[in-house]
Symmetry: C2
């Protein structure tokens, strides 16, 4: 919605990242699936469109895009990295029942502590865990 393939191409160029079909498709997938997919989900789904796609490419692409600040890696569980094309500060809620990850606004500025006065902060993360309304309803 917010981005067209052309927008992605321009942004990649502006960041001196070479344009490739695979990179554009990964960006397109993330912009159309804001559910914070895993590498495997991205790979499996893109495979339908790009039968020659390699999982290594998905890893390296996401790594490059993350380095460039175009996507953000989400570490909530230790056994999976998820990716988010929304790089603006916000919190994540992971439902322990259905596994869904929800976004919520989080005021990161409020978290600043005088204890960190001498630190250079590059990245801020907030995540909660619990049960989502849908799963709470299903239990009754």
């Amino acid at each position: 919605m917010k981005f067209t393939p052309d927008d992605f191409a321009k942004e990649l160029k502006s960041k001196n990242i070479r344009l490739s079909h695979q990179r554009l498709k990964v960006l397109e997938y993330l912009s159309e699936h804001k559910c914070h997919p895993t590498v495997d989900q991205i790979y499996t789904n893109l495979l339908k469109e790009i039968p020659t796609l390699s999982k290594t490419t998905v890893y390296s692409t996401l790594g490059a895009l993350a380095d460039a600040g175009m996507v953000k890696a989400i570490n909530i569980e230790d056994n999976e990295i998820r990716y988010d094309i929304t790089v603006e500060d916000h919190g994540h809620f992971k439902c322990e029942s259905c596994g869904a990850i929800y976004d919520f606004p989080a005021d990161m500025a409020h978290l600043e502590s005088e204890v960190l006065s001498g630190f250079k902060i590059r990245d801020k993360n907030v995540y909660f865990k619990g049960t989502c309304p849908m799963c709470l309803a299903n239990k009754n």
Copy 2:
């Protein structure tokens, strides 16, 4: 400092967790090493005192203690779980240069969002990444 082995024994009993030498040692190690050690660090160091220790035991022990709320698993990087005996809410700062993890006070209550009104929140996490003062100084 805060806990003696006896305190741990009492707390385990109160939670109906069986008392074992290994569990007490893991708790003792965490209370004496608040640097958020990895499973492997805990294992390697306890091996000196308990030559028969198995890494599987360290995993299962930490899992049981985490389920009981006596320790907290810290997921910052995707390739390592760290453990913290401080279970009260606080934030973590990971230095990307030296790898050290620092504690800082974080007002989690402020993060509550009306978006989460129907959610049951069980666990809140805040972590930052960047460079610590020591590493910043060393760069000059």
